[in-house]
Every structure is written in C-alpha cells, then in structure tokens.
C-alpha cells in the first residue's frame, strides 16, 4: 500500500476549476444585471458573502473534530481555494477600485490584511516545515524554554567542573561576560527567521577569542560548551520558525472575525437602507 499524502495535481486543479467556474458564472451574472440596468453589486455581494461565510466555517469545523464533517485536509484545501476566490469576488464587487466612504475603506483594509496574512501564512506553511525538518532536531514548541534551561544548566555545570578541575576561572569569566547571554533564552530571532547563520558565527567567534587563553584541558570543556551551543542554536531556529507558524494566525483570525462582523453589518445596512 502506498501512502498518498495531500492532493494530486488533478485534485488541486479540480478545486481551482470549480472556483473559477463560480467566479465566471458570477461575473456573467453581474454583466447581465448591468446590461438590464440592475444593481450588479447586490449579486456579487451575495456570492461574496456566501464564500466568506464558508471560509469562516473552517474555524467552526476545527472545533468539532469528533463530527463526521469530512477530513480537515479537504476543508483546508477548500479554504485556500475559497480565499483566492473571495479576493477575485471582492474585486468584482468593488470594481477593483476599493470602497468609498470610511466604513467601506476600513472594511477594504481589513479584508486585504486578512487576505495577505492568509497568503503569507499559506506560503510559510508550505516552506517552513521542511526547513524545520532539515535542522535535524524536533522539539515541541511548549518544551523549548525547558529545553534551553536544561542546556544552560548543563553548560553551567561544565563551567563549574572546569573551574574545580583546572583551578582557573578564564572560561567561567568569559562565560559570564558573553556566552551567558546566549544561553538565557532564544536569541537571534530575526536572523533565524531569514535563515541566517549569525548565531553560529557569534558563538564560534566567542569561542575563538577565548581559545588561545585556555589550556588543553580547558579546551576540552570549551568544545563541550560549543557543542551544547550548537544544540541550542537548532532549538533557537525551531523557536523562531515555530513562532512564525503560530503567530500569523493571531493576525489572520482576528482580522477575519472583524471582516465577518463588518460584512454582516454592511449587509444589514444595505438591506435596510438600500434595497
């Protein structure tokens, strides 16, 4: 039995095709309404509202894992395709010019923030997991502080042992002056996000500066500290990228909720004062 994960190209195009068809039908409908001097924005607005409501349902589906509501993977695919469809429908609805008036402009901005955060999130979800795998370690996000504390403890006991066994405090002093900062918490966040090697370079630099002042025995301890720093670097990398994977939703979901609320109010206003 072969494990097929995800969707095949045919399946993806099927979903995209369906979305395109819906867009084309709506477009034709608005053209027809326009030619008969009707208000086409009403038609595109209703379709857009329907698509937005469907997008919001994904969040509800996540809260009902025990209901037989189709696998989450299908929902995610529909949510993704639906998100792009909503963007095109929004342009159709607003004639790609954006809304007039303060309320409309706020709604437009929120809609764009939601859409852009969604696209960025999608991009990150497709790129970051592989980068995390390539780091060679795997760690649960919530365990990162504990893991760093354990490494710090190990480093400090190594430093103490070095001081006791060798009788000099060179390594300990240098640790307190420089490396201690590194082992306190995740560092070089932005550099890790962009895949830089600053962290590795910094630690290597600190060790190199010290190396010529150490005896053979002390160097053995320094090597051990360096390998622990290397381990921490990988954890920092996980921290940075896993933080990204978790925090983009903190923008996307509240914005989507705000858009939904404003759209409903917008709909009420249209129905009460316009139609």
């Amino acid at each position: 039995m072969k494990i097929q994960q995800g969707f095949s190209l045919v399946q993806v195009w099927r979903y995209v095709g369906l979305a395109s068809l819906l867009l084309l039908v709506t477009w034709q409908w608005t053209i027809q309404i326009d030619s008969s001097l009707g208000i086409s924005a009403l038609a595109s607005g209703w379709v857009l509202f329907g698509v937005l409501a469907f997008l919001a349902l994904f969040s509800i589906r996540k809260r009902l894992p025990f209901m037989p509501l189709a696998p989450s993977a299908i929902w995610f695919m529909l949510h993704t395709v639906g998100g792009f469809l909503a963007l095109f429908l929004f342009w159709l609805h607003t004639d790609a010019m954006g809304s007039k008036g303060f309320y409309g402009q706020v709604l437009t901005i929120l809609f764009y923030i939601t859409s852009i955060s969604g696209v960025i999130g999608l991009f990150m979800e497709k790129v970051i997991p592989r980068q995390l795998t390539c780091s060679g370690v795997e760690i649960i996000y919530e365990r990162i502080p504990g893991e760093i504390a354990a490494i710090r403890e190990e480093v400090e006991s190594l430093i103490l042992k070095c001081t006791e066994e060798v009788g000099t405090s060179t390594l300990a002093e240098h640790y307190l002056e420089t490396l201690n900062w590194y082992f306190q918490k995740p560092r070089f966040f932005l550099n890790n996000v962009f895949g830089g090697h600053l962290s590795q370079h910094w630690v290597r630099q600190q060790c190199m500066i010290l190396e010529r002042f150490l005896s053979e025995k002390e160097r053995e301890f320094l090597d051990k500290v360096y390998s622990l720093a290397e381990k921490k670097r990988k954890i920092d990398f996980h921290y940075a990228l896993q933080t990204l994977l978790k925090t983009w939703l903190l923008v996307h979901i509240p914005m989507a909720a705000a858009v939904t609320a404003m759209v409903i109010w917008h709909l009420i206003l249209i129905m009460v004062f316009f139609v």
Binding site: M1, R63, P65, I140
Partner: protein, 573 residues
C-alpha cells in the same frame, strides 16, 4: 576512586511467586504430574526444585473466578492441583462478562453533544458508577485482583462447557507461542492451581521428555495443521499429506520471550551491534535444509553489505522463506545457498519443514504443473522475486524500512506516522484527540524521527502486544472487532503493568478526578487512583481516529509498516 560493586544479578532474583516456600515445593513434588519429572535430567543451575520455587506459584481461586480469558495474552500455564474448572466452549462469554469494554459508536447526536458536555478538567470519572458494577475482586496475594463471573449457573446453562479436573494442564500453548488464549476458563469450585511462567515451562519442555511430548503433541493436535493450512504453499495439500508434513515439522524458538524488557537497553547500543546480538535462524550462504515458517514473533531478513548487515525486510507470523532455494536445488541447480540471513527480532517461534518432506509433498506436484498446485509454485516464485527486489534495492531505498525494523516499529499495525515536511506543528491533532478523550490527549506529538518521518508516541496496536501480558484483570485487551488494543476503564486497577511493559512508552497512567475536578484518592492510603490510558483509535467516535481526521495538512497516517510504501505527493497540497 572508589569502585562500586554489586552481586551479579541472577535469573531467580525475582521469583514468580513471592510466597513460595520449600514446604510448598516439597508438597508439589507429591503431585503425580510433577513427581513423574526426572529430577536428575535438570542441570544444577536450573534444578527442578529451583524452577518450582522460582518460576511457579500456587494460586487459589474462588468459585466463579476467571482463570484465563479468551483473547488474552499470558505468559504462564496452569496445572490443576485441586478443585474443578470449566472451559467455556460455545458460544462463549460476552465481553462485558470478561471485564471487557463494549465499543459502541456514538450516534450523530451523541457526537455533537460532546461540544457542551465536555468537562473543563481532564480525566473526570463518575465516582458513583465506578466500582458499583465492578467485576474485580481482590485476592489473597498482595495488590492482586481477579475478575469473577457473577452468575455461574446461567453461564453453564447458556454455554457448552467442558470440565477440567485435578492434573489438567492448560494455557501452555498460548504462553509458549505468544498467541491469544483460545477459550475462557473459570473456577467451578474453589480451586488450587500451579501457575508456571513461560521460563519454567520452557525448561520443563527442554529437560523432561514427558512434558515435551505433551506440549508438542498438543501443539501438533491443536494448532499446527491450521497454521500449515493457512500458509499459501501448503494450502492445496489434502488432509493426509498435510498431516505428514505436520508430523515432520520441527519447532524452534529464538530470542528472548520478554524482549521488551531489554528493548530500551538495546536502543542505547550502536545499531550494528543490535543485529549481531540477534540469534541466527538461517545464515546467508548456508545450504537450506527446509522451509522456515514464522509461527509467532518477527524475524529480520538481512544480507552482508560492507562491514555490516543491511536489513531488507522482516518476516511476521504466517510468512515463510526458503522454498525457492530448495526448489532450485531439487531441480538440479548447483550452488543454491541461502541468499539472506534470518535472525530473530526480539523473539520468534519458527517451524522448519524439512527439505525431504517438502520435496515429496510439494515439488513433485509443482513440477507437474497440475492445476491447483501451480498456485503454490507461483506463490513461491513471487516471494522469491520480491526477495530479489529487496536485495537489489539501494541502501537509500531500504533505509526507512531498515529504521522501522531497528526501532521495532514493524510490531505496530496502526503506527502514527507523521510527515514532518507537511506538519506545521499546529497541534490540531492533539487538540482533536483531547476533545475526543476526556480532555486529555492519548498521544504525544513527539517521537523517533527518520528523515522527514516521525513515529509519534501513540499506541501502535501491536501485532505482538506485550503490554497485554500480565494484566491481572484483562482490562487491556484486543478488541474482537477491528483488533485494536483497548483498555476497559472500569476493570483497570491502575497497577501500571501494561505501562511498564510497553517498550515504546505509549501507555500513560493518569490520576482520575471527580465531577468537581478533585483527584479521586484511595481512602486507605490517600494516594490518587490511577488509570492506564492510551490511544484507542477513537473506537467510539463516528469520525474514526480524530487525529488523522483533524490534520489540515494531511501529514498524518496510521500505518502498518509491512503494507506501507511511503510516497509523498509532489504538489505540496
């Protein structure tokens, strides 16, 4: 520097029965089944008296107590010393009566209701119902419990039963063969039994002809023919020929029965050393002297490569190897030797059907090309071709399977495999599991990784479920429908035997709480009441395993490595 010393641990440091005395042993020697054993045949380091004292124990059962349950795994056999027992033959006792959990799928409404009926605190149990209908009763042995039957006369009325009296031996095939018990046996009257753990039983079989004959005869009579019949190459033989094959078949055991106890130690060893420690069943380059069939357990198939051994695949219960080599030799090919080495992966029981009998009963028919027999020949050549494909694989192609064999994940039938290249670490799977199980997830999204694959810490519903060995109440059992390993919360006494036995650390003990969220404690010692919990594949949920269902990136699968080829989709979606 001070050197720490310790007496070298000995085999009988941990006796089976804590309260066995020399007087008990002397008394046992007066029973005819034991006195018939030739004491002089046993070596000094493994004396008969030593076995009786350390590998056996006298257990008393009250009328109605269940001694063994159908479907349970056990590592001991029983000899009736006194009293009378009943074997339930047909139609068998319902699961609830045996202390098992009946799985009922939730209705759509019940599933939906979980949305607001879920408690805020995890692992809440209904204190009033707990223990009210308990089937568990404490026994004389400290900390031990038995499940008992409540209405014995009704059971006798409704079921066809057989009696077992003084001197009857039972449970030995399941204990030695690591197979589930085939029937339920309960005490009809108060009874005294000698329970012998498998190590003792193995020695009895090894050093005493009478016991060996008895055990082998029973296996031949009860299970061997069925096993051969179920093996494709023998399935076309008529009863007479099959019997002749069965009579000539040899039994062999390799490895340690309790391999799970040393598994974690093995993990710290260099991987190549692990293979070298495994007992060899058949060696690459040797002449094949028969077809090897796996009766129970697993066997690693490997070839020499460089300075090490490359694992090609593994054989499980029902698999066979060696037919093609003997067939080619029989056809006149010279230099037909075994292409691979077969070693016991933990523990394996093998059947060896000697070449001569195979030539007589299979090859003559195969070469005749008669309809019906062709299938057997075809099956053999398919297996052979498959093996050649494995041999031709590159190191990279076979690396994942090699890893799965090394880590013993091949034991799992429902291993939780996560593609870390797709997983966004959102923990939707964990939340879904928690939502479906009393607010506490039944797995940890963490585990051993190979390349981009992770086998998470979730129950794998093993083919060889060592966790089930030794459960005193049978609370952990294999479901008759679906074969998953599940725990009956009502009969779990929190003894931790299963959690300690699981080599993969996939069973977790949890402290249970009452309605208001306080821990439920034992009034005698104020310690919290523990229950064993593990993945049950969401057996009662209509959506199936919630974890897989909830993964938005389709990164997770429950897999049986034997049937799995990993093939990642390239679209990225």
């Amino acid at each position: 520097m001070a050197i720490t010393t310790q007496e070298r641990p000995q085999r009988w440091d941990q006796p089976f029965g804590l309260f066995m005395t020399d007087q008990d042993v002397d008394r046992l020697l007066t029973f005819p089944e034991i006195s018939a054993i030739e004491e002089s045949k046993f070596p000094a380091h493994c004396s008969l008296k030593g076995i009786l004292k350390n590998d056996a124990r006298v257990v008393k059962y009250s009328a109605g107590d269940i001694v063994i349950r159908e479907g349970d795994y056990g590592n001991s056999a029983f000899l009736v010393l006194d009293g009378s027992l009943k074997v339930v033959l047909f139609p068998g006792l319902p699961g609830e009566m045996l202390g098992r959990r009946t799985i009922r799928k939730k209705t759509l409404w019940q599933a939906f209701k979980q949305l607001w009926t879920q408690r805020k605190t995890p692992e809440v149990r209904d204190v009033k119902s707990q223990g009210q209908h308990s089937l568990v009763r404490a026994t004389e042995a400290l900390g031990s419990s038995q499940v008992f039957l409540q209405d014995v006369p009704a059971i006798l009325d409704k079921n066809k039963t057989a009696s077992l009296g003084k001197g009857a031996l039972f449970g030995e095939l399941a204990a030695l063969g690591r197979t589930p018990r085939t029937s339920t046996i309960f005490a009809e009257t108060d009874a005294e039994l000698l329970e012998i753990r498998w190590q003792g039983l193995r020695e009895f079989r090894k050093y005493d002809q009478g016991w060996r004959r008895l055990i082998d005869q029973r296996y031949r009579a009860n299970a061997l023919n069925a096993h051969l019949r179920a093996t494709s190459i023998f399935s076309h033989l008529d009863d007479k020929d099959l019997q002749e094959v069965a009579d000539a078949t040899l039994f062999e055991t390799y490895g340690k029965f309790d391999w799970h106890l040393t598994y974690n130690k093995l993990q710290t060893k260099e991987k190549t050393l692990g293979i070298k420690d495994e007992p060899i069943i058949a060696q690459q380059g040797d002449y094949s002297d028969g077809i090897l069939l796996v009766r129970t357990g697993f066997a690693r198939v490997s070839i020499d490569r460089g300075n090490g051994q490359q694992t090609l695949t593994y054989l499980g219960t029902g698999d066979f190897y060696g037919a093609d080599e003997i067939f080619r030799a029989w056809q006149g090919d010279s230099n037909v030797s075994l292409r691979v080495t077969i070693t016991a992966l933990g523990y394996a029981e093998m059947l060896r059907v000697p070449s001569k009998i195979v030539e007589k009963h299979l090859f003559a028919y195969w070469s005749s090309g008669r309809e019906g027999f062709r299938k057997g020949a075809l099956q053999s050549s398919v297996e052979s071709r498959r093996m050649q494909d494995y041999i031709d694989r590159t190191l990279t192609d076979g690396a994942l399977l090699e890893w799965a064999v090394e880590e013993r994940f091949v034991n799992g039938t429902q291993a939780m495999l996560i593609n870390m290249d797709r997983c966004v670490r959102c923990d939707d799977c964990v939340r879904a599991c928690s939502a479906a199980h009393d607010g506490n997830p039944r797995f940890i999204r963490h585990g051993k990784t190979f390349e981009n694959w992770m086998v998470a810490n979730a129950c794998m519903h093993c083919a060889d479920p060592v966790c089930m060995i030794g459960c005193p109440t049978g609370a952990i059992h294999r479901s008759m429908s679906g074969g998953m390993v599940i725990i009956n919360d009502d009969t779990c006494i929190g003894c931790e035997t299963c959690a300690n036995s699981c080599p993969y650390s996939n069973i977790r003990m949890v402290s249970i709480r009452d309605d208001v969220g306080n821990f439920i404690t034992d009034p005698q010692n104020q310690k919290p009441i523990l229950k064993a919990t593990k993945c049950d594949l969401c057996a009662d949920q209509i959506s199936g395993p919630a974890c897989v269902f909830a993964c938005p990136h389709d990164a997770m699968r429950r897999v049986d490595f034997r049937e799995t080829e990993l093939d990642e989709n390239t679209t990225g979606f």
